[in-house]
């Protein structure tokens, strides 16, 4: 598989074995850090970053309002997580046929991850969990669930998930850690920031020139982003999502605010308040650290090589044919 995965993996494993992961410090960051600058004088966020993580989005309910693990607790979680990535799936099962990530250097233990003492990515509400849905949000969730039951994935490609169809995975804000290829590249010009997400190799272009929002009728999978510098923090507001993007069940009214602050040479603190009164009873917010990694970001020709969809549909049609023949013989 990819060379950088192997390189990244070797680094991650070496660090793990040495018990010296980079950036093991608590989230309180050094206020004295002098942020490097681009030639345009802006804070320099450029380079290759990973947000791979063992931190769950929502905090396990049993932890209540415990927001941080101790180092020892985190060590144990990482050890278990790394080990899980290397477990062989059971031969002959769907899971085994589908993927064994460890063969390709794609587990977080191999590909690298960011050490984060937080018990959840969500930091507000204080219980670390997504707030309850509004009646509106619940009705949409129920309708989606019903549509999934009534329209099996194996019937037609449009019934499958957006990632399976190679439409979008990982690049719609807020940027969430994903299971593998959880890497990104940032390049800055005077009035634009580009964030290239490795999964499906999808680039976001964020204008910083104070331009007006897009008209309401323009709807995009990744929304439309507008950014500005708030001191040393890059603030990006994104709206104009499609209803089908449906981040965590959100509607097309979702507004995501992202705040990227370089807190050390190796880390960017990524914070993301989200608000959608059509979906949740209150706004909520998450944060996690991104960490310097090695490039490059590889091409992801997902759609071009999407044998999975063809094979899934072909398998389902073959099974239907087999059942028809069996029924005909039975008569």
């Amino acid at each position: 598989m990819s060379h950088p995965s192997i390189v990244r993996g070797a680094v991650a494993l070496a660090c793990l074995l040495a018990g010296a992961q980079v950036g093991a410090q608590a989230p309180a960051e050094n206020g004295e850090y002098e942020v490097p600058r681009t030639p345009y004088g802006h804070p320099d966020l450029q380079g290759f970053w990973t947000n791979a993580s063992f931190t769950p989005v929502e905090r396990p309910e049993a932890l209540g309002e415990k927001a941080f693990y101790t180092d020892e607790e985190l060590d144990q979680i990482i050890e278990q997580g790394v080990a899980r990535g290397f477990e062989q799936t059971e031969p002959g099962t769907v899971a085994d046929v589908h993927y064994d990530f460890s063969q390709f250097g794609l587990t977080r233990g191999q590909d690298g991850f960011v050490r984060n003492l937080r018990t959840s990515i969500i930091v507000d509400p204080p219980n670390g969990r997504i707030p309850p849905m509004t009646a509106d949000g619940e009705a949409r969730a129920a309708a989606r669930a019903q549509a999934r039951r009534e329209n099996p994935q194996t019937d037609r490609v449009q019934n499958m998930g957006l990632a399976t169809r190679c439409i979008i995975w990982g690049a719609n804000p807020p940027l969430m850690p994903i299971g593998y290829n959880s890497n990104l590249q940032i390049v800055q010009s005077e009035d634009h920031v580009m964030i290239l997400v490795e999964m499906m190799q999808d680039a976001r272009v964020i204008p910083l020139d104070g331009r007006a929002p897009l008209p309401d009728e323009i709807r995009q999978w990744k929304g439309a982003s507008r950014g500005y510098w708030d001191g040393d923090t890059l603030v990006i507001t994104t709206a104009n999502f499609t209803g089908d993007t449906a981040f965590r069940g959100a509607s097309e009214h979702l507004v995501v605010t992202e705040r990227l602050t370089r807190v050390s040479d190796d880390r960017i603190l990524y914070q993301f308040p989200v608000d959608d009164p059509h979906t949740w009873v209150r706004p909520w917010s998450g944060e996690y650290p991104m960490e310097k990694t090695v490039g490059p970001i590889f091409e992801s020709a997902c759609h071009e090589h999407n044998y999975g969809v063809r094979n899934t549909l072909a398998g389902a049609r073959a099974e239907e044919q087999r059942q028809r023949e069996a029924a005909a013989q039975g008569r």
Binding site: Q188, M194, A203, Q220, W221, F298, E299
Partner: protein, 268 residues
């Protein structure tokens, strides 16, 4: 006044005169916009305004391949973009090209929303945006969200075959030169079936003609398919709309029925 002082004055006058004439001469030469590090600045949204994606060689207007689309998808005429007129195909490859054209509805990667390859991405009927830093120049194409990272430092060989290749770049004077290798051989140059092998090497040259126009050249090197290297050239234009922005053109959902429709469950 001493002789020495006079000599100095004459010399000074001569320097001033030369400085003035030098400025006059320099003002005749176009100066491209520059980044803080002094490199020509290619940031912006650009687009070809021509028929190159229909076919790189000179061609007459022709009916399109879909009767129902009539004049809307008919093929426009073009003077061509290839220096010397014809693409120097090997004999077998010319036959292959003609067959590709005959089967273009079935075989053209653009029909299926596949990544467009190089140089085709740059002259498709879609804009692309340049985001330029000293280390990386990003070429972000609207079509299929195709992305190229041009490595301006730390040049490396292509790590693996890919659709968009691996691009190393440098400046020659005020021209941005990009060498791209590591192709998988699955892309075409246009809708006319012009093609290449996985041994393709492309050298592109971007030069400012003005603040709002670039000269674009691409030299195609692929001894497996052509008898010699060949070069295309065309201008690229800045999208001058004040609100110009690279909108999403995620075309996968538009081709799913075309690609997978034959395998959808039939109503009983």
């Amino acid at each position: 006044m001493t002789e020495g002082t006079t000599g100095a004055r004459v010399a000074f006058a001569a320097i001033v005169a030369c400085w003035i004439c030098g400025t006059a001469a320099a003002s005749d030469a176009y100066e491209p916009p520059r980044t803080p590090s002094g490199q020509p600045d290619f940031n912006g949204i650009w687009q070809a305004m021509n028929e190159a994606n229909w076919g790189l060689e000179a061609r007459d207007a022709a009916a399109g391949p879909v009767i129902e689309l009539g004049a809307a998808y008919a093929e426009p005429p073009s003077l061509g973009y290839v220096a010397g007129g014809k693409i120097p195909y090997q004999e077998w490859a010319l036959e292959q090209r003609d067959e590709n054209y005959a089967k273009r509805l079935e075989l053209d990667p653009e029909i299926k929303c596949y990544l467009p390859g190089v140089p085709r991405a740059t002259y498709m009927p879609h804009p692309f945006q340049v985001i330029q830093s000293d280390e990386h120049i990003m070429l972000l194409y609207r079509y299929r969200s195709a992305v190229r990272t041009v490595y301006m430092k730390d040049h490396q060989p292509a790590p693996a075959p890919s659709w968009m290749g691996w691009s190393n770049g440098w400046f020659e004077g005020d021209t941005l030169v990009i060498e791209t290798t590591g192709f998988n051989g699955l892309t075409w140059f246009d809708r006319a079936g012009n093609f290449h092998s996985e041994n393709l090497r492309v050298i592109e040259r971007f030069t400012h003609l003005s603040d709002d126009a670039l000269r674009y050249e691409a030299t195609i090197i692929d001894p497996q398919v052509f008898t010699r290297s060949w070069t295309i050239s065309m201008p690229l234009y800045r999208r001058l709309e004040e609100n110009a922005e690279l909108l999403e053109f995620k075309c996968v959902p538009f081709v799913e029925d075309l690609i997978y429709g034959d395998l959808a469950k039939q109503e009983e």
